[in-house]
């Protein structure tokens, strides 16, 4: 073999220094230049193996693992909706700092999936709010029947993760509930839970890479907050017919506001450009709610509700 042939062999070899055929080895034993060529290729391989990865490699791994860690806790939580919601809120908060494009853990989507998911979610939000704002129960039923089969089929056919589908199902189930109930406090409570789901999705979205998606989710969050929660709280207060259970429910709803504001602040800090306008609007809504929560109205220290006795000091 000549040097040219040996070099050709080396350039294609699985390993330039090991497993050389007899004729290559024989030539290299007598040719310093070819030995150096083999060593040079081995150094190149070694250099390649030593190249570090960007910091995003480890960060993205931790975000994915954090999402995996959250999902079983949420699933194994007791079936009561409140506990499950709390756990998911915690997951959103703890994963919020670690997430990369597409979301964390169980909320990871490809770009195409994210679009399809958000479209369906928008559809469900609109449907819920329309039903909730209907003037009569008959109208609610009509609005429900218009879309229910189609939405149910879309959710069933979808190719999203089980946890992502669970969010869609929560919205669908709420539509179901609305046609068989007429309870402003119950609606406010349920819509509050649904808003929290949107907040969780927003917290899991990387605003730097997906500003449109983040903005879209926060816009929907504000819609649900204002048209689903605040409107219903106002209706409940205006009715003057809130019993003790209703009062407790609203107190619990409002008690979670500081955490919601904290979650919103975290999103704002991570993605100020994508989220400022919507988050400021949400915080204004919570401020208004806090100011309205005076003694005698809704919130801790609420005054005497229907059927409740208060012990006063004489």
């Amino acid at each position: 073999m000549n040097c040219q042939q040996v070099r050709e062999w080396l350039l294609e070899a699985e390993n330039p220094l090991a497993g050389q055929p007899a004729d290559v080895a024989a030539h290299s034993a007598n040719c310093a230049a070819c030995r150096e060529a083999a060593a040079e290729l081995a150094r190149l391989d070694s250099l390649w193996r030593s190249l570090p990865l960007p910091a995003e490699a480890e960060r993205s791994k931790q975000a994915f693992l954090a999402g995996l860690a959250c999902a079983p806790a949420a699933r194994q939580a007791p079936p009561r909706r409140f506990s499950r919601r709390r756990i998911l809120q915690w997951c959103a908060t703890s994963a919020a700092g670690l997430l990369v494009a597409g979301g964390g853990g169980w909320l990871v989507f490809s770009a195409q999936q994210a679009q399809a998911y958000d479209d369906l979610l928008d559809h469900l939000v609109d449907w819920n709010l329309r039903i909730s704002q209907a003037h009569s129960q008959a109208e609610r039923i009509r609005l429900y029947d218009q879309q229910a089969n189609h939405l149910r089929a879309m959710i069933r056919k979808s190719k999203f993760s089980a946890e992502a589908v669970a969010v869609l199902n929560d919205y669908f189930d709420n539509g179901d509930w609305l046609v068989s109930h007429s309870d402003p406090v119950g609606e406010a409570d349920r819509f509050s839970g649904l808003a929290d789901r949107l907040l969780q999705l927003a917290a899991a979205t990387d605003g730097a890479r997906n500003s449109k998606r983040l903005n879209r989710l926060l816009r929907q969050y504000n819609r649900v907050l204002e048209s689903g929660v605040e409107v219903k709280i106002a209706a409940a207060e205006a009715s003057g017919a809130m019993d003790f259970e209703h009062q407790k429910k609203l107190e619990q709803l409002i008690l979670a506001d500081p955490q919601r504001i904290k979650n919103l602040a975290a999103i704002l800090e991570r993605s100020p450009h994508a989220s400022r306008k919507e988050i400021e609007q949400a915080i204004r809504t919570y401020d208004k709610r806090k100011k309205k929560a005076k003694p005698g109205k809704v919130g801790p220290g609420a005054g005497k509700a229907k059927g409740e006795r208060r012990i006063t000091e004489s």
């Binding site: 350039l11 193996r49 990865l53 995003e56 490699a57 994915f64 999902a71 597409g102 169980w106 089980a162």
Partner: protein, 179 residues
Amino acid sequence: MTADAVDLMPGEKDGRAGDFAALVDAHWMAVFRLVFWMSGNTHDAEELTQETFLRALQRLAEMSLQTQTRAWLLRVATNAFLDRKRKQNRAKQVALPPDLPGLATAPGDRIETSEQAELAKAAMTTLSETTRAVFHLRVQEALPYAEIAAMLGTTEQAARWHMHQARSKLVAQLRTEAG
């Protein structure tokens, strides 16, 4: 993603969730490394790595039959990259420009190693994605050419040719810059 509906946590009853997390921990960096060098940018690498492990979740039964989990995952990653590339070509999307990430160097070897490594990375960006993939899978993962060829949908002979190309160009580049 051509996924069927994914049950992300199929095994919470019997601890398979924990096994999957261990698998992610063990192989994430290898997958990331491959798709990073194939795509040339961190954004695509993050998405493709996540995509790979989501696809793995959908195919846990198939994965459990593999004797070489890492090689299987790298194959899934390669397919994810090729799927994305096909979609981008159809949509005429412009691929992100390559990153040239900063380099951590060891004290004492600082300048020489950094320069050579930067040169190697810069030279890599001049290679085709397939050539980069062949070089990386052979050098980093020590996969045989036959397996690399199967992953990339080519022949063993073509894989060897890509390796020839990669080594020739990288060595030439390093020699040129060294003067």
